[in-house]
Symmetry: C2
């Protein structure tokens, strides 16, 4: 009971996404969450972004257990990659989360890569030197938990994602009573969700969206489409309930949403009478006013159901004048333009499109300032480490902790890779390990690095110009040019060939025959000519072939 607990976030700090936190005690390691992030604009061609998990790969004893707080991709999406990278003994998750990850691991052929264990709310589980208790939290997916983690005589509360929804759809509220009990026992450190720490007030209950559906649905004569995150089980349940009341049947469209609805129904997290569900090909038989379509695509993803519907490219669902499309989600920053494009296309098809900017058809899943204050008051932590958010959000959460009376010296503003030690003397930063990003591009995990991205960026801006020069002894033929993504005035290509020819001649006349030198000179003088004429900087690739 007198060692130290070490906590190392590998992702989720200074960013929204790829949440992953390592806990170390008594020579053993557990990992809370294993999430992914989606690529940003500058991650050209990248499909997914993972935490750099090399620290875990190198652990001699491997990972005792991964404990998951809930089933969102930014908390579980890196799991298959973690299982391929590190030696993981057990995965603990609540029932729905387990159902979702089983399906994911199955797709990756990894169902037997680690032991899957159900985490129940209440009774703690012993994981080597760790004692982990799941505490019920409300969020935008059912079966979310916070974790109370005890080790080395220290007690840490790790909130996962949550809000204080007092009227959640499943009645399972954030367990403020248990959090208060933990607070009374003495919590040494709180790791808390910071996503909405900048936002004043309180996040509305999920039920508010159901009330909006109840206002909207009865007035509509045409089809109703509701697009949301595929994991938002309660959102879909509410839409289905209102549909039932107004005599509409339900069709679920989009692979991930169909999959999640199946899992949630099988496990009892959704209640949909069999007779209410239609297959997409049955839609044509029903008048529009008896249809509710639930679909993926709330982020304007290029191949999603809603995008295909918007572009008249969906085999089973179309939209026409009189229909109503409800985009029941907020665009993740970076997706705004794609979502706007989809809205415009749907409006052009004649649909009325309701979205979160103009109707109360979405609520956040994360706690705002007053909720964070409530949690701080209940848990009364000796130290606070804001997690899960961009720096501004972490800083706003730190400010709330200060307001709540946590001394500034006990507030840890960490980054990914910061090693935080917690012992009787409190929480403090003791080290920094390498933590960064691993890109998934096609089948490759980790092979795309900054240099490839830099080249892609350069190529994306002004294209590429290849100069093919053939040397025959000390004579050079007129070089050929191949341009892709680069254009210039008509006369420029001729001028460029002249310039390349001139450069080669001069160098050969001076007996410069080394290929590398010839290429460098070609690169520099052609690049300069093109910049002078066009103010563009295509990537110049000289190919010199000796015959």
């Amino acid at each position: 009971m007198n060692g130290a607990l070490r906590i190392i976030p590998l992702g989720g700090l200074g960013e929204v996404g790829k949440n992953m936190t390592v806990y170390e005690a008594g020579g053993e390691t557990i990992v809370v969450d294993a999430g992914l992030a989606f690529p940003r604009d500058e991650h050209l061609g990248v499909d997914l972004v993972l935490p750099d998990m090399s620290y875990l790969a190198e652990l001699p004893g491997g990972v005792r257990a991964v404990v998951l707080t809930h089933g969102h991709e930014d908390h579980v999406g890196a799991l298959p990659y973690l299982l391929r990278t590190a030696n993981v003994r057990e995965i603990w998750a609540t029932r729905l989360t387990l159902g979702l990850i089983k399906s994911k691991l199955d797709e990756h052929g990894l169902l037997r890569a680690a032991e899957l264990r159900e985490l129940e709310v209440g009774p703690p589980v012993e994981l080597g030197p760790f004692r982990v208790e799941a505490v019920r939290m409300a969020h935008s997916i059912p079966d979310c938990v916070a974790l109370a983690i005890e080790a080395e005589g220290m007690l840490v509360v790790h909130t996962g994602d949550y809000k204080l929804d007092h009227t959640p759809i499943d009645g399972l509220k954030t367990d403020v009573g248990r959090l208060a009990e933990l607070g009374n026992r003495g919590v040494d450190l709180l790791l808390g969700d910071s996503t909405n720490a900048e936002r004043p007030g309180v996040t509305p209950s999920e039920r508010v969206v159901g009330e909006a559906f109840r206002q909207i649905f009865p007035l509509r004569e045409g089809r109703i489409l509701v697009s949301s995150f595929a994991s938002n089980v309660h959102r879909m349940q509410q839409a289905i309930d209102v549909a039932g009341d107004v005599g509409r049947k339900v069709c679920v469209v989009g692979r991930s949403m169909r999959k999640n609805v199946n899992i949630a129904r099988n496990l009892g997290y959704m209640d949909v009478p069999d007779g209410m569900l239609l297959r997409p090909e049955e839609l044509a038989e029903l008048p529009p006013r008896e249809q509710l379509v639930l679909c993926t695509g709330s982020q304007g993803e290029p191949l999603s159901a809603l995008t295909r519907i918007a572009y008249h490219d969906h085999p089973a669902v179309s939209v026409e004048r009189g229909d109503t499309v409800i985009i029941s989600a907020k665009p993740v920053p970076g997706n705004e333009l794609r979502v706007h494009d989809a809205i415009n296309r749907l409006a052009q098809a004649g649909a009325e499109v309701l979205h979160q900017e103009i109707a109360p058809v979405h609520v956040s899943g994360h706690a705002c300032k007053e909720e964070l204050r409530t949690i701080l008051s209940l848990v009364r932590p000796k130290a606070v480490m804001p997690v899960h958010g961009e720096f501004r959000m972490l800083a706003a959460h730190a400010e709330l902790a200060r307001d709540a009376g946590v001394p500034a010296s006990a507030i840890v503003l960490a980054e990914n890779g910061t090693v935080v030690q917690l012992d009787a003397e409190g929480a403090r930063v003791v080290d920094q390990i390498t933590a960064g990003v691993t890109f998934v591009d096609g089948l490759g995990v980790g092979d795309v690095k900054d240099v490839a991205l830099r080249d892609r960026r350069r190529l994306s801006e002004d294209g590429v110009l290849i100069i093919v020069a053939t040397l025959n002894g000390d004579a050079a033929a007129r070089p050929e040019l191949i341009a892709r993504g680069f254009t210039g005035p008509d006369e420029l290509l001729d001028e460029t060939r002249d310039e390349a020819e001139r450069v080669l001649r001069e160098l050969l006349a001076e007996d410069v025959l080394e290929i590398k030198l010839l290429q460098e000179h070609l690169h520099d003088s052609v690049g300069q000519l093109i910049y002078d004429r066009t103010r563009r900087r295509p990537m110049i690739l000289p190919v010199v072939v000796e015959v």
Copy 2:
């Protein structure tokens, strides 16, 4: 008085930006506004987006006059390009707008390309068959006007951008009285700003932001930075006024903002005592609590003042703990991530960052639903053509017009290039001309087309792989590979060379010697191999050299 008036929007419909509308009557042409748009993600490497102005270039009589509603870039930014494209006789604009475009035309060496004429509010000007009257409108830049355009016995009201600010900073309200008089006379067609047509209620007055400044400034001990659009003269004036009251001096940072402040002060649109203004190099002499820095960069533009300050890369301004940064603007869709990056960097430097999501430090310049309804009631147009907005905004504006009693047949939902005819029988679509986009990239205007953008897109996703094959009669050396932005497993490049060599050998053995055919086969088989191994599709460029 019995011909027809033709109206052709060349930009601004189905989009936000590059507003430009052509009016034709009696064989003469005037153009209202000549705006640009900023490139979207998919416009790789493009600097600016202009309307396709080829229609105007081909007009035998040229353009009688360009009339500008206000000085924002999306209304005047394409002017230099228009002057180079078409023969324009006069440019009419109100005093501040004229000041701003003079500076712009001067930079382009185009000050004498057309006659610059001051447009005054009130007395109409005769432009050939057109009679144009400017009506005062309030917006987020001073000296905005709507245009009442009479020709061929028809009266059109073209609103420009506006809101119904009843307490504008300069006291110059939207002239609802004059709009009502025009309505009483009988308006045949209203072309109205649709930007906020989806948003319920009323846009708050610009004065609200000044009130926020008045709450925020007195409490701050450190530097205060306010970043806004460089053209938002009243925003800057309000910040300066409050700064004066709390004993802060003002430093304006960022080229466009310094330029605009100079123009606005010289023309009497801003009131800043000389002693209040500091040069950037004087900042160091003043304690932070006596400084107000006004700066560009509210959109997170890479080279702007605020971005350079956030990245500790500004020669004169730095930010530290205790400072306050106010981002007094809303990110234009597509700029969200860059603005968030800047906020995070500033927060990391220790500044408190106030932005529109969490504090009332910005208001829109565009009218919301209730204001649009008010205008429709005042102007009582016989027909309505929503302009200035994405399709969903135009559709929402059309809905408001219907609610206001305009018959559906008199509501024109046009696109860029739609030719609308207005005569005694009303407004209707009679034709469609080519209208699209012209890209500015470096010095090139219009030379970057879709094919170059498609290549750039492809290059940006998976890079480029060049295969250099040398033929000597019917013998081939082992091909060389050059990859940029493309990576794969270590063994893949060898495997690819083997494959290329195999393909060449087989073809040569079959006496296939035609370069084009060899290239095609190399392209296809290497592309397939790489896709199979990596699920990536780099651009494959085979170069076959005969010796």
